[in-house]
Amino acid sequence: MEEQFTISIFVNNKPGVLVRIAQTFARRGYNVASLVVSAAHDPQFSRMTIVVQGSPADFDQILRQLNKLVDVVHASHHESSDSVDREMALFKVEVSAERRSEVFQVVEVFRAKTVDITERSLIIETTGNSSKIDALERLLGTMGLVEMIRTGKLIMARGAAET
């Protein structure tokens, strides 16, 4: 059985780092579900949050292989209890002017935002944990959803712990 794992990685901000990390997963048949990379507060380093899917039996080993990469300062596995996680998504919904209010109701309940509006479509923006976004996607799916893009999960360790 495959499972999903969320990993945060603190790396040297150098060319090739991403490829080495991707290869570490690919070699073991892991699929990358989402990947976020950005410069860290100190621009010599980058932070990544990666959600991968694969066999739990191999996971510890993969984490060790990641930590072994020369450009990886540390890689660690996070559970939702020890970290805050957020994701952002944009949804494009095709909806006629008469039925917009139904969509607006959903937007309101989810504390999402409408960021673009034309005669026939809306773009909705939302931020939250992944399950909230999944739920919004399901609902909008019944209301004319035509496009969706998600940033992928970002995480940060709670309290004084380092991510």
């Binding site: 790396v11 090739g16 060790r64 930590n67 072994k68 990886v72 300062v73």
Partner: protein
């Protein structure tokens, strides 16, 4: 200084004495800078694969990183097999490749290859240097990475314009790599736990691999074995970390290991891996491997823990230091009954071979071991001859046995022997190669001849890709497919064409006389073409993927039908 001079200065700072190189457009500035280098010698090889294996043999024999310098594109891609070979066996190499001009990168320029990308899965680390002022730091890091921790190959790809650009940066005094830390000593608690487990063992076994050789842990392994009264088995690459002539040695374990080593594995109640990684050639079927024995694993690379076998205790550190810390915590064990049992197995199932009915490789290697008193530095190729050499040529010290284990690279043996002879000019270096693999890098005979290296090249000539033929015979109903080596050249004449002295052995009666003559000849290389029986097989053998207890100690009768192995070939 320009970039090319920085590279050469880095070599000199790192005490490099040989650069194994092959020139081309994209590395000409570095070749030019080498003209002025007085402390190091450029060895012009005949092929970049040969050069990479030569650097590898040099590194395994001396413990110092081997250095390779080649051009871009095909020059660089020719090193890939050598990089894999070194990566799999943790051999320190620094491979410098020339690259097309920075402005042309990614534009399919002449002899451009994305070498950084191509080699990424087969290196410990790699660099593409685009700013000449990074070069002093990169070169320093490359040598540090190659030779520290778990060693491995490091590749530095340098565009030609970076080689000619002026550099204003200095070499740093220290490396600063926040993502690279090497832990050499382990926690005292884990050591105490290990000691407690050992003191409860009645049938312990030390299982010693390449990590112990790299760490030069021979002294500590021996001290531990003697203090405990524990038998020691070595892997193919661990040969030499414990003298195979010692009474506590049970020789090599695994697929073609000794019967008594494998029986010791099956019956031990504690197995301690010292710089060994539970390779599939050792464990066979993993779930059936020592299921009830306590397992202790010493490794400098934490990614090895739990990769194949979940140890009861893992000790992360440098084998010699970990063992030195462990030694005071243990005492002598009452292993007399265990050692008596092992002595019986040794007596019942010695390594053996028929001395009649044609010339046998085993007979030659056994005699070679006797005549050289196990002093030779042996480099092998890959195949049956490799396994016979492992069985019959005893290793007594670290860095005396050079063989491609993890990658099993045919073509490794001859160039590796040359590299070893460059690094250890006073040692007796012997290449034991098969007729198949020898032809993959035989062109390096020229390198041997030019430098008058006194290597002894023993070609075990069975006119077959013998190891594959053995598998076809045993597991594929003897249906031979693509294994005959008809078309082999006359190896004696081939050697003569290079101006190399050569001999032939055809009969068992010639062995001693010819070997003595070859061993006495030191004015340059010498080749022996040993025309052995064609269809001999290596035993003992554990079919791949089978439990160790399924070992076939001797050749089964020809009518026996063996199942196709489940493990990888």
């Amino acid at each position: 200084m320009n970039g090319a001079q920085v590279v050469v200065a880095a070599f000199e700072r790192e005490d490099v004495d040989f650069v194994f190189g092959y020139p081309g457009g994209a590395c000409m500035p570095i070749f030019d800078a080498l003209v002025d280098a007085s402390k190091l010698k450029l060895v012009l090889v005949r092929h970049e694969q040969g050069g990479t294996h030569m650097a590898d043999g040099y590194a395994r024999a001396t413990g110092k990183p081997g250095v390779v310098l080649v051009t871009s594109g095909p020059g660089a891609t020719n090193t890939v097999t050598g990089l894999l070979t070194a990566q799999m066996d943790s051999v320190p190499l620094v491979v410098v490749t020339g690259q097309t001009m920075t402005v042309n990168l990614g534009k399919d320029a002449f002899q451009e290859a994305d070498v950084f990308g191509v080699t990424m899965p087969v290196v410990k680390h790699s660099y593409l240097v685009k700013d000449v002022n990074d070069l002093p730091r990169v070169m320093k890091e490359a040598f540090h990475l190659a030779s520290s921790g778990r060693p491995g190959p490091v590749l530095v790809d340098i565009p030609k314009d970076v080689q000619t650009a002026g550099c204003t940066a200095d070499f740093p005094d220290e490396v600063d790599m926040p993502g690279y830390q090497v832990q050499t000593r382990c926690a005292p608690d884990d050591l105490q736990r290990t000691a407690d487990l050992i003191m409860n063992s009645k049938r312990p076994l030390l299982y010693v691999g390449a990590g112990a050789v790299i760490s030069q842990a021979g002294k500590q392994v021996r001290a531990l074995a003697e203090k405990l009264g524990a038998p020691v088995t070595t892997t193919l690459l661990g040969k030499g970390a414990f003298p195979e002539t010692h009474e506590l040695s049970v020789g090599m374990l695994g697929m073609h290991g000794t019967a008594y080593a494998n029986k010791t594995v099956v019956d031990c109640d504690l197995i301690m891996a010292i710089g060994a990684r539970w390779d599939d050639r050792i464990t066979g079927k993993v779930s059936a491997f020592c299921p009830d024995a306590v397992k202790i694993h010493i490794d400098i690379d934490p990614a090895e823990f739990g990769k194949i076998i979940q140890p009861d205790v893992s000790l992360q550190g440098d084998a010699s230091l970990v063992l030195a810390d462990l030694l005071p915590l243990v005492k002598s064990l009452k292993t007399k009954p265990w050692l008596t049992q092992i002595a019986k197995w040794k007596q019942r199932h010695p390594l053996k071979y028929p001395k009649r009915g044609g010339l046998r490789a085993q007979h030659i290697l056994d005699e070679l071991d006797r005549l050289t008193e196990s002093r030779g530095v042996i480099a092998t190729d890959v195949g049956q001859h490799q396994m016979w050499a492992a069985q019959f040529c005893k290793s007594c010290r670290e860095r005396q046995w050079l063989s491609s284990g993890g990658a099993g690279t045919m073509g490794y043996g001859l160039p590796a022997a040359l590299g070893a002879q460059f690094g250890c000019p006073d040692d007796l270096v012997i290449a034991v190669v098969g007729d198949g693999g020898f032809q993959m890098t035989q062109f390096e005979l020229a390198t041997a001849a030019i430098h008058k290296l006194p290597v002894k090249i023993l070609v075990i000539n069975n006119s077959y890709l013998g190891m594959v033929r053995q598998w076809q015979q045993l597991f594929f109903d003897n249906r031979e497919s693509g294994v005959g080596m008809e078309g082999n050249p006359d190896f004696v004449k081939l050697a003569e064409a290079y101006g190399i002295k050569s001999f032939r052995i055809r009969r068992a009666g010639d062995i001693t006389r010819v070997l003595k003559k070859a061993l006495d000849y030191n004015a340059g290389p010498v080749l022996i073409d040993a025309v052995v029986v064609k269809a001999d097989n290596v035993f003992p053998m554990i079919p791949s993927g089978a439990p160790v207890s399924d070992m076939l100690i001797e050749e089964p009768p020809p009518t026996t039908k063996l199942e196709k192995p489940v493990g990888s070939t």
